[in-house]
């Protein structure tokens, strides 16, 4: 049975997060958990910098276990991410929710955020800071997949690897894309806990 367009609009307005966003969000949460935990395990086998991640925060027990998790989790992360991007583009989700970001709004909203006056009264509308954060993490997601592919296949995909300055360059890019996503995640979780209605909205849709 078809619903009228008016009904659809009312239903959409009522809904903070459509079902596909909620489903892909939570699958993504699991996938990111697997990819970061196993990625830290792999990092620890040959640290790029003068530190290692605490083994208790890593996944897989040792390098082979971490690699098995990482190269299994990648399918979940990429398939789910693609589904989200395709559905989001089809429904103009990104254009409606994340654009435009105006410099003036951004300055005002950052000021408000820093003084704790940024309103989250209407969860359907993102402020400029949120828009920038969500767009930023989406781009970090694209970069982490592209640099990950370059690391996995530096010969078969050598042109892609060359974009990152070769294998070693892709390692650095992959690391910093991870760092950006984890930084986003920390702020994201803190904000969700500060505004519990937003967590409920991501589960029930409203």
């Amino acid at each position: 049975m078809r619903t009228s367009s008016a009904e659809t609009i009312t239903r959409d307005l009522d809904l903070i997060h459509p079902l596909y966003v909620r489903i892909t969000h939570w699958i993504n949460a699991v996938a990111v958990f697997i990819m970061v935990g196993s990625g830290w395990q792999i990092y620890n086998a040959s640290p790029l910098f003068a530190f290692a991640f605490p083994p208790s925060l890593t996944l897989g027990g040792w390098l082979a276990g971490g690699l098995l998790w990482h190269f299994a989790g990648m399918w979940l992360f990429v398939a789910n991410g693609l589904l989200y991007l395709v559905l989001g583009l089809k429904k103009s989700h990104f254009r409606r929710k994340l654009l435009p970001i105006r410099a003036a709004d951004l300055v005002g909203d950052i000021g408000a955020a820093l003084t704790g006056r940024l309103s989250h009264a209407d969860l359907r509308v993102y402020n400029a800071v949120q828009k920038l954060f969500y767009l930023g993490v989406l781009m970090a997601g694209v970069v982490i997949v592209a640099s990950g592919l370059a690391l996995w296949k530096p010969v078969q995909l050598k042109e892609l690897a060359a974009l990152f300055g070769g294998y070693e360059g892709a390692r650095l890019v992959h690391f910093f894309a991870m760092a950006s996503i984890v930084l986003f995640l920390v702020i994201h979780v803190v904000m969700a806990l500060l505004v519990p209605r937003s967590l409920r909205a991501m589960i029930r849709g409203r």
Partner: protein, 258 residues
């Protein structure tokens, strides 16, 4: 599987090193997934009992086999790994193995024979001199370790493809299996064995291959991770049965193509 094993055992006792390798002490083998028990958060999210390590490991290994299949299809037999100028060579080249450098096997050049087995017409063993008399090629390519680091080396040796053709190997067989003096072993797919840059390496950076890098011969494969580049190779078998490898049997992905 059984047939291949019988054939191998029947021909030469030295290839039994393959089986001896399985008996080596291996403390890391069962470390797999030990920390998975602390992942209560994930268990809550999925509702699955992921603390059940054996079943999780089984699932992950199935996915790893699927990844072998995907990688075999991604592998382009004509696609060459990037080559570098002489100035890019990493000197000294890093040592890496499951044993310390001092324990790298000392292979006696006089007594060394490369043993051939399996689907090969001429199974005559090869001395090091005979291998050195074959046409040699030099490549400067990057070795990427499964641990993440990489280093550029200058490798000289016999293209494996030309050697397999010379000894009358069945080039339609699925696998080439390598056995090493210290008990290490690994196997690769035939398309990779026939790749133009896959090499039986006898020299590094213009000098005889040093013990630490695999004297007298290592298999150099710039299209695969470092652990698929076995050192101190003493045996080579062409066969249609999957034989895994020292690390592969413990969980490293078998294909491990780059």
């Amino acid at each position: 599987m059984r047939q291949a094993r019988k054939r191998r055992q029947g021909v030469d006792a030295e290839l039994l090193i393959h089986d001896a390798a399985r008996l080596l002490p291996d403390p890391s083998r069962r470390r797999f997934l030990r920390q998975v028990g602390s992942l209560g958060a994930l268990a809550m999210l999925t509702g699955c009992n992921i603390t059940d390590a054996p079943s999780a490991e089984k699932t992950l290994r199935k996915i790893s086999e699927f990844n072998d299949w995907v990688q075999a299809r991604l592998f382009n037999p004509n696609r060459l790994a990037t080559t570098y100028p002489d100035s890019a060579v990493t000197r000294p080249f890093p040592f890496n193995a499951y044993y310390p450098e001092a324990e790298a096997p000392d292979v006696d050049e006089e007594r060394y024979r490369l043993i051939l087995d399996g689907l090969i017409t001429n199974k005559q063993p090869w001395t090091l001199q005979q291998l050195a008399d074959l046409p040699q090629e030099t490549q400067i390519t990057r070795l990427v370790c499964v641990e993440g680091w990489s280093a550029i080396g200058k490798w000289t040796g016999v293209p494996l493809r030309s050697f397999l053709e010379r000894v009358g190997a069945d080039l339609t067989a699925k696998y080439v299996h390598f056995v090493c003096a210290e008990g290490y072993f690994s196997s690769i797919d035939m398309p990779t064995a026939l790749h133009p840059q896959t090499q039986m390496t006898l020299a590094f950076d213009g000098e005889t291959l040093p013990t630490r890098l695999g004297f007298p011969m290592r298999i150099r494969i710039p299209t695969k991770l470092g652990f698929k580049n076995p050192k101190h190779v003493i045996g080579m078998t062409v066969l249609n049965n999957y034989t895994g490898g020292y690390w592969e049997d413990q969980g490293y992905n078998w294909f491990s193509g780059l």
